[in-house]
């Protein structure tokens, strides 16, 4: 039986270690890659090396940044430091940022609470969050954890942690949660019951 050349087999094997890539997809990727020009391959390798060497977590918020520096949001003078959007991971912040309307800053928790899977409060960046709230004079925290059971539990947990904090001037810290409802462009009769129910509960004035 004709096997794969060992070098190719090794490449395929390495690719299957990536999330979402099964053996079939890895084969297709590998076959495409070996047809690239040597220069293209070299620049892919360079990009990979650079990313690994240079991408870091922003020391303030935990978003993706480069060379240990502040991320763009934290570095920007124009962003409102009194509003914090708390998300589970860095890609969630990128998603909110794509929305293009949010002008506050972020805080990455580094996951969602799940004692069953061994993720405990001490594994989340909650102490850093509390510190920032005091130091930066935060007045509002938007809890944007996922609408999954773990995300909801994390939100309830954060509420416990934050509910007694005060904003500068002694007013209570404003705690908000992202609304849950219909995706835009959605057809009512295609929405699942849970989404519809939640959209009803969080309805707004016309």
């Amino acid at each position: 039986m004709l096997g794969l050349p060992p070098a190719l087999a090794d490449l395929i094997h390495q690719l299957t270690r990536l999330p979402g890539i099964g053996p079939k997809a890895a084969e297709r990727l590998a076959l495409a890659l070996i047809k690239w020009e040597p220069a293209e391959v070299a620049s892919l390798g360079q990009a990979l090396n650079d990313s690994v060497a240079r991408v870091t977590d922003c020391p303030t918020c935990g978003c993706l940044s480069q060379d240990g520096e502040l991320c763009d949001v934290c570095a920007s003078e124009g962003r409102d430091a009194s509003v914090l959007c708390v998300v589970e991971d860095a890609l969630d912040a990128v998603a909110v940022e794509r929305g293009g309307t949010y002008n506050g800053r972020y805080h990455i928790l580094g996951g969602a609470l799940s004692p069953m899977k061994g993720v405990l409060p001490e594994d989340l960046r909650v102490a850093e969050l509390l510190e920032r709230i005091q130091a930066d004079g935060v007045t509002e925290v938007i809890v944007a954890t996922n609408a999954s059971p773990d995300g909801e539990a994390t939100a309830l947990y954060l509420k416990q942690e934050l509910v007694e904090l005060t904003a500068p001037g002694g007013a209570a810290l404003r705690l908000t949660r992202l609304a849950r409802g219909l995706p835009s462009g959605a057809q009512l009769d295609y929405a699942d019951p849970a989404t519809l129910q939640s959209a009803l509960e969080h309805r707004t004035e016309l």
């Binding site: 609470l113 799940s114 004692p115 069953m116 059971p149 539990a153 994390t154 309830l156 947990y157």
Partner: protein
């Protein structure tokens, strides 16, 4: 719902069966071991994708055969026909509905809606509360599929909360030395538990009420005129009334059970510990005080009430499968049960007693004699 045609190949002691069934009462008569229950078991498979007496598919494949086949033409109450087909091998199933392969079994289960009663069903009444909760929940989900995420939420919150309790109390009664964060996490899951738990308790209380409205008159029809009465009650440690206090009551009970939770390290109050009570003459627990025949009547009436409810709510009269349901009942009760059965669309009744068969025959559409995996018509009563 009606079973119009059944085909079996190498299922239990049926090598080959091809039969059309009429509506009404169908009697399967025959000696012990003839294959009466086996036939009902095949129909049960079509309904629930499992047996009522084994978890191992290979046990139902005829001795030393490679696979068993169950195939049926069914019709819903509007006479819309559909075909179900099931192939069982050890460890493998192949399921088809109207000629299409089914990979998600939940798309198949319940399509043929049936209510089943067999002698072991008495454990529904006398056995663990888990069984009764399962039946209630199954029926609730059938009537209101939108509740599924609520159940998932509750189960998840319960598991997470129990994990926190195990961390909070590394040993029974002894608390973790830095418990602050864990206490807050516990509080978060308590909130989730209450949110979903209250919804479940409310729904279960509601379905118990509507089931009871079917159950009480049905039981009264089965019992002698001045006889005992039996009713259903949803039993919870959480006071369910007044309704607007339900969440507050659940919260209070959870906080009062802290010591128990510390020593047991799991959540001890909530819908996962509730029960469905069968109440004799308005005050006593039927499973402690009722006679054999009364308990059997109640378990059977419960199935009839479920059928009546789904007829009322879903305009679907489920198939009734009564395996050896008449034994242990006095003759009067048997007669009255048959009168109730006559009002259902299609009912399969098995019996190993000639006397019983003689009693049923006048009301039956057809009587089959079962012997060694073969069915022969023994004549009809009408």
């Amino acid at each position: 719902m009606r079973l119009k045609r059944l085909k079996l190949r190498d299922f239990r002691n049926y090598e080959r069966l091809d039969l059309e069934f009429p509506a009404g009462i169908i009697v399967l008569a025959g000696a012990n071991g003839a294959g009466k229950s086996n036939l009902l078991e095949a129909i049960h498979y079509l309904s629930y994708l499992k047996s009522f007496r084994t978890n191992r598919d290979r046990e139902v494949v005829r001795y030393s055969c490679p696979l068993a086949l169950i195939e049926a033409r069914l019709a819903d109450d509007d006479e819309r026909p559909f075909d179900a087909r099931l192939v069982l091998k050890s460890g493998k199933r192949h399921v088809r509905l109207n000629g299409n392969d089914i990979t998600r079994f939940q798309d198949f289960i319940g399509r043929l809606h049936s209510q089943f009663f067999f002698p072991g069903d008495l454990t529904l009444l006398t056995g663990d509360p888990t069984l009764r909760r399962e039946v209630l929940d199954l029926e609730l989900l059938r009537l209101k599929p939108v509740l599924l995420p609520v159940y998932q939420k509750f189960r998840n919150a319960l598991k997470q909360r129990n994990s926190v309790l195990k961390l909070l109390y590394p040993q029974p009664g002894r608390r973790h030395n830095r418990p602050v964060d864990l206490l807050k996490a516990l509080e978060a899951y308590t909130e989730q538990l209450i949110g979903a738990g209250v919804a479940i308790m409310r729904e279960r209380r509601g379905i118990t009420k509507v089931l009871n409205e079917q159950f009480v008159p049905l039981y009264a029809r089965l019992a002698p005129p001045e006889g005992e009465s039996v009713s259903l009650r949803y039993l919870s440690a959480v006071p369910l009334e007044p309704d607007d206090q339900l969440a507050a009551n659940y919260r209070r009970l959870l906080s009062e059970s802290q010591e128990t939770e510390a020593s047991l390290r799991f959540t001890t109050v909530g819908p996962h510990r509730d029960d469905l009570g069968f109440i004799l003459d308005g005050e006593r627990d039927l499973k402690r005080y009722g006679s054999q025949g009364q308990q059997r009547s109640a378990a059977l009436t419960f199935r009839l009430a479920l059928a009546a409810l789904s007829r009322q709510r879903l305009s679907d009269d489920p198939l009734l499968l009564l395996d050896d349901a008449l034994s242990e009942m006095d003759d009067e009760r048997k007669q009255r049960l048959l009168a109730i059965c006559r009002q259902h669309r299609q009912v399969f009744i098995t019996s190993a007693s000639q006397r019983e068969v003689d009693l049923i025959s006048p009301l039956a559409t057809v009587v089959y004699t079962v012997e060694d995996g073969l069915l022969a018509p023994a004549g009809s009563g009408q």
